[in-house]
Symmetry: D3
Subunit: 118 residues, 6 copies
Amino acid sequence: MSDIDEFISARREANAAVLDQDHLGIKRFFALDDAAYRDGALSGKVKELLGLASSLVLRCNDCVDYHLIQCTRAGWSAAEIVDALNVGLVVGGSIVIPHLRHAIHTLEELQTRPDVSL
Amino acid sequence: MSDIDEFISARREANAAVLDQDHLGIKRFFALDDAAYRDGALSGKVKELLGLASSLVLRCNDCVDYHLIQCTRAGWSAAEIVDALNVGLVVGGSIVIPHLRHAIHTLEELQTRPDVSL
Amino acid sequence: MSDIDEFISARREANAAVLDQDHLGIKRFFALDDAAYRDGALSGKVKELLGLASSLVLRCNDCVDYHLIQCTRAGWSAAEIVDALNVGLVVGGSIVIPHLRHAIHTLEELQTRPDVSL
Amino acid sequence: MSDIDEFISARREANAAVLDQDHLGIKRFFALDDAAYRDGALSGKVKELLGLASSLVLRCNDCVDYHLIQCTRAGWSAAEIVDALNVGLVVGGSIVIPHLRHAIHTLEELQTRPDVSL
Amino acid sequence: MSDIDEFISARREANAAVLDQDHLGIKRFFALDDAAYRDGALSGKVKELLGLASSLVLRCNDCVDYHLIQCTRAGWSAAEIVDALNVGLVVGGSIVIPHLRHAIHTLEELQTRPDVSL
Amino acid sequence: MSDIDEFISARREANAAVLDQDHLGIKRFFALDDAAYRDGALSGKVKELLGLASSLVLRCNDCVDYHLIQCTRAGWSAAEIVDALNVGLVVGGSIVIPHLRHAIHTLEELQTRPDVSL
């Protein structure tokens, strides 16, 4: 299984275990999180890119992977995504470099997997 | 003097004092920072919005104010900016609310100051 | 006006300005935030203390002040609150000391204001 | 070996290696850290929950696992722990979700291991 | 009163109020914090510089001011301090720039106050 | 392959993949990052130690490993490095302990590898 496939399947299973706890607040948070990236005053496409940059500066590999998949599906090219990652690098500094490395690894795999879905 | 005018003038003066230290690394960092928001694979307009969301989740009021001014100048509407701030709120959680309050205060002042420049 | 009264009134006004933006996601987030501290599997009283410790380690003075007011109203004594702040100090390190100083200042004022409400 | 057993044994060995460096400051910090969770103005039981919420918002899986074990041993039920995690989720935002997933995984394993000890 | 004098006097008073709470854990933490910067395997002088860089990347103005005073007293020149701040800028990214501005302002005032003491 | 050798080889490969994206901003950031640790007003040796403490308080294992290698090559002894890590522990709190454990593990391996190079 590729790294991306493993990530997607582990994420799906773990999210199900979280929701199985049946905590109303957590369920509502998950719904609110999904809703934040739907078309609104801004397009969902632009908001996925905001999610990606935010995830990089907060240095969360799983969040970076998630938004890389969503950004690719939304139609951002690799060059555009790298340009967004550069903003995150300048904002967040050298401490984000390990996460930038991770992002580029995932991005490269995603270029060969245009059909991937969460 | 309005809050925004005060921010802009204090920022200009303090940046000058930083650059007066004449440290080559710092000067190059400032240049690199400016360059990150110029048109590239992504437009400068989109990248200012990435800077705004990143600043909100990292909870930096001065950075939020700076990118709010730049986003407004780049043509993002108040509704679009609020939608970007909402992504930052969901990513960063209730701990960003004080900075969201600050952002809305600045945004409201900016709506009456279409001509503001840094 | 005391520091606490000023905080409460500024917070109330700024929250109103945020909600006036009429963004559904933000409104739902604010509701979710309120709900998280209501009685559930844990009492609201215990959850306010969790909010306080979390706010201290994340180094947010406004959030610390908010939860100090709520913790005092919920019936935690000054000694119990200081013991909670100590957990935050050990978890978060000396970098939280400025926020610990702020917390103690607010806590002292709160002891003379048993009736304060948000 | 289960994930929890592996965590406990790796943690024990690595802590021993740290203390073997024989640095007085580090040794005193470890002692201070232990002491923060003993009964005081607040019960140790409540303080373990504060440690858990703080660890979640600071996004440290090892710290989350440690406090999950301690919270379970102190008598908090799974439902109470999930309610505490929800506070951390709202405070810390979607960026803590990967750590929430991790926490639920550990919590589920702990339910079958009432006897686990550090 | 200058900014530095105001900082020093407010810090002294607020620290006293914290210690007046008479919490043994907090008192021991304060002692441990002081001890960390005394001569050991490394000189106190070098360790103050580590405290400064750490404070900058963690974006705490009060901590930056404190370590700037200590670094100046320990004999680091303005140029050496600026070089340390540059490391913090590169590690922490543009989000630390507001704190770098603050640091340079304090540093300039300190150059005219060789005798300042905490 | 030892943990250090694996880290060095994975880092080298991943850095190459990042630079292969051919983004001018990223390339310039990497150059600026390297330059920050060269002899200047402060020696490169002292600045590596600043990088190490900053990496520890920001809780980045890869960054800690990188600076541990550089600090060892620059001539800092294990005892001096542990003393620097203690500053980071006090500044950053118990949340850095998992990263301190990681650092000690790497440091011990490095003592047997005086010749390691990045």
